[in-house]
């Protein structure tokens, strides 16, 4: 009982005396002491008032003092405590009895009102928690909300343990399942042997253990099972700062209700996590299948051509004329190079995915790496006019020349694939703020609207190029490499037809300037 209540209680005593004094004063005023037997009603009123408002002790005191005062002042012989008429004894007893009974009734009624208010508060708190849990989407937030509510409403520290299979989405309740601590409030005590045994007991039996329970009653915390709709999920431990907390029946029922709410919300969250894992695994499976079928087809096709041509030469080469023989040999050569490019693409993508690529960054003028890429595709570009526009004032960029060169080669090859033979290509560079923008443009059919982002995904080929060969990794490799350089890459359709691929790189100021060596 806190100080204020205690102080109030102390006040009851002087008040109880004061009431008697007041009643006496009024009685004397109204009634003539020699005919004042009716004054007993006033005293009775005083006793009733005292019993309604004061504690047991003070109200009995009021009764007693009222009896004495009444006897003293109104009962003959006056101003004397002697009782001559035995009927007055009945009056006195009745007054005392009234005091006791009314006091008890009043107290009970007060207690019930208090209990009802408490229950109402508890229900409201429980509703609050269930609303918060309903909003919380992910497991961590959910557990934190539940722990907060339980901690606040029971003035306790909270510990939540979940069974390992439940974390993986399997709701079996095997006795041997391990329990994992998934959340604790900052002040929650460590689990020692006894507490751990209690949690295991709760898990096994599905019944409470700890303070106020049959099992492990010596512990200061109460452990309850967390139940979902499909079975047990785990155990929640509540350590109230006030030990006697869970000896109260209402408190226990209340904390059980909280645990039930927690169980439902936790189950929902675990199921959602499980569903997400399944979805991701299905996606991965899908991607892996796409890879396998794509690899199989795109590697076997050139291999088929090579072995076919070679086998023909071996079998009937002697009877073929020279140009035909030459043609077959050309096939072997070309298809071998094609196979090499495809394998390279696959390996590059795998390395990039695995993060196994370390960039060797150096400051370079763009011109060099563009020239290098164009040189690599020299023969392929033979029938095309390639316009390059790289102003001399373009700042240098910090790139890995080999990897960035690969990006340009892929973009140019892409442009070649998706534009008609003989149509022109453009490679341009521009300076925009502190970025350098490189663009590769063609005059092909362009990109189907809406596909601009999708084409950078793995194994995507634009619908506009039906029958176009290739593994479909070129653009996703570009995106990975440009991303590793801290830049962006995107595609747009051009005015006048065709597609343009743009990428950005941070522009730099070359460090230290360049030295001119004397002599």
């Amino acid at each position: 009982m806190d100080r204020l209540a205690r102080a109030r209680r102390l006040l009851h005593w002087p008040i109880s005396i004061g009431i008697v004094g007041l009643v006496t004063a009024v009685a004397v005023l109204i009634f003539d002491p020699s005919h004042g037997t009716a004054a007993v009603m006033l005293y009775l009123l005083g006793v009733v008032v005292a019993s309604l408002r004061l504690g047991a002790g003070p109200s009995l005191t009021t009764a007693l003092l009222s009896v004495l005062a009444y006897d003293y002042i109104f009962i003959p012989p006056q101003f004397d405590l002697v009782i001559t008429d035995a009927r007055h004894l009945v009056t006195f007893s009745v007054m005392l009895l009234v005091a006791v009974v009314i006091n008890r009734l009043a107290r009970r009624s007060r207690d019930q009102a208090e209990a009802a208010r408490l229950r109402e508060r508890r229900t409201a708190a429980l509703y609050d928690m269930s609303r918060d849990l309903g909003c919380a989407l992910e497991r961590e937030a959910l557990l934190a909300a539940a722990a907060r509510h339980i901690g606040r409403d029971f003035e306790a520290e909270v510990l939540v343990l979940v069974a390992e299979p439940a974390l993986a989405g399997r709701f079996t309740a095997d006795r041997s399942d391990g329990l994992v601590v998934v959340h604790r409030t900052p002040g929650a005590p460590e689990l020692r042997d006894a507490e751990t045994a209690a949690t295991r007991c709760v898990w096994r039996t599905g019944r409470e253990a700890g303070a106020g329970s049959l099992a492990y009653p010596q512990l200061s915390a109460l452990y309850l099972p967390i139940l979902g709709s499909r079975g047990r999920l785990g155990v929640v431990g509540v350590s109230a700062r006030e030990r006697r907390r869970f000896e109260d029946e209402d408190d226990r029922r209340s904390v059980e209700a909280y645990a039930a709410q927690l169980g439902l919300a936790l189950e929902r969250s675990l199921l959602a996590e499980h569903a997400e894992r399944v979805r991701v695994s299905a996606e991965t499976e899908k991607l892996r299948n796409a890879l396998l079928s794509s690899v199989s087809h795109d590697l076997r096709t050139p291999l088929g051509a090579i072995s076919g041509a070679a086998s023909t030469l071996l079998a009937v080469g002697g009877s073929l004329d020279e140009p035909t023989r030459r043609e077959l040999l050309e096939t072997v050569n070309q298809e071998a190079r094609r196979l090499d490019r495809r394998v390279t693409n696959l390996l590059d993508m795998t390395r990039l995915d695995a993060g196994a690529v370390s960039l060797q960054l150096e400051w370079q003028p763009l011109e060099e790496v563009v020239g290098s890429a164009l040189a690599q595709l020299d023969q392929a570009l033979a029938d095309r006019k390639v316009r390059t526009d790289l102003p001399a004032i373009l700042p240098p960029v910090r790139i890995d020349s080999v990897l960035f060169g690969q990006v340009l080669v892929n973009l140019l090859e892409n442009a070649l694939k998706y534009s008609p033979p003989g149509s022109p290509l453009e490679v341009t560079g521009s300076h925009d703020g502190n970025e350098v923008v490189v663009s590769v443009a063609d005059r092909g059919p362009g990109i189907p609207p809406g596909d601009e982002a999708r084409i950078f995904d793995k194994f995507q080929r634009s619908a506009a190029g039906r029958g176009v060969r290739g593994v479909g990794l070129g653009l996703s490799i570009c995106r990975a490499i440009v991303g590793a350089h801290g830049g962006r890459i995107w595609a747009e359709n051009r005015e006048g037809g065709g597609a343009v691929f743009r990428l950005t790189l941070s522009a730099g100021v070359e460090p230290g300037g360049v030295l001119e060596k004397a002599g």
Partner: protein, 246 residues
């Protein structure tokens, strides 16, 4: 090549299929052919048979190709051409800096191989004989190392001292690859070994002054991840066959 004294090419390569086609290509071109399938055997052959050119695969089973290069360089000036897979630029650069003369990336075509061998032999002959060729021509550019004069289309070009030094290095090694480190070393000095961006910028300058189209150089070629090569017209390799669509 003089008759009776064919230049011999030693190939140190462990893959039998590679040796088969190299052997065919080399002998058909009129060179003698020596083979070794491990590094140790290769070192032995090089010591005893004195080949004119050595083809060295970097992925040997017994000794690291780099180590073989170092050991060879302790006693033979014979040109070494290293063969290596794509993506192993670091290995190639190390081998080149350790004394190898040129490189080929697998898979490579036979015309490329023969061109490299020719360049290697030319340089060897120049070294063995008189001093380096004093005058080199490419396109309409003529570089006279003796007079320190560079002309383009007959007109004298005035290059800065560093530009000239850089060009001179490439000219002295005409046809062969020169690593960034070698260029920095010879044009700037050993202290600048790591400042690759200097080389790039100056090569850019040279391209603008000497090439018909600086953005698509024909002579001052970038070897990505490795260095640069001054490509002479007579040693230009017709692009090896192969369609462009991947």
């Amino acid at each position: 090549m003089s008759e009776g004294l064919r230049d011999t090419v030693l190939m140190i390569e462990d893959e039998p299929q590679m040796r088969r086609f190299l052997r065919a290509a080399i002998t058909a071109s009129g060179y003698g052919c020596l083979e070794a399938n491990t590094g140790l055997v290769g070192l032995n052959e090089a010591a005893t048979r004195n080949p004119a050119v050595i083809l060295l695969d970097l992925g040997l089973p017994d000794i690291d190709g780099l180590e073989v290069t170092r050991r060879l360089r302790t006693w033979t000036p014979a040109p070494i051409i290293v063969l290596s897979a794509r993506g192993q630029e670091v290995d190639k650069v190390e081998a080149l800096d350790a004394g190898a003369d040129d490189y080929l990336t697998k898979p490579f075509g036979v015309p490329e191989l023969l061109a490299r061998i020719r360049v290697a032999l030319r340089h060897r002959r120049q070294q063995a004989g008189t001093a380096t060729e004093p005058m080199v021509t490419f396109g309409n550019v003529r570089v006279d190392l003796a007079e320190r004069k560079v002309t383009r289309g007959g007109e004298v070009l005035h290059l800065t001292p560093t530009e000239y030094k850089l060009l001179a290095v490439l000219v002295r090694h005409a046809g062969k690859v020169v690593t960034h480190r070698q260029l920095l070393n010879e044009a700037w000095g050993p202290a600048y070994a790591a400042e690759t961006q200097y080389v790039r910028v100056y090569v850019g300058h040279l391209r603008h002054r000497l090439e018909p189209d600086a953005a698509r150089p024909r002579y001052l070629i970038t070897e990505p991840g490795v260095g640069y090569r001054l490509q002479l017209d007579e040693e230009r390799v017709p692009a090896s066959g192969g369609g462009h669509a991947p």
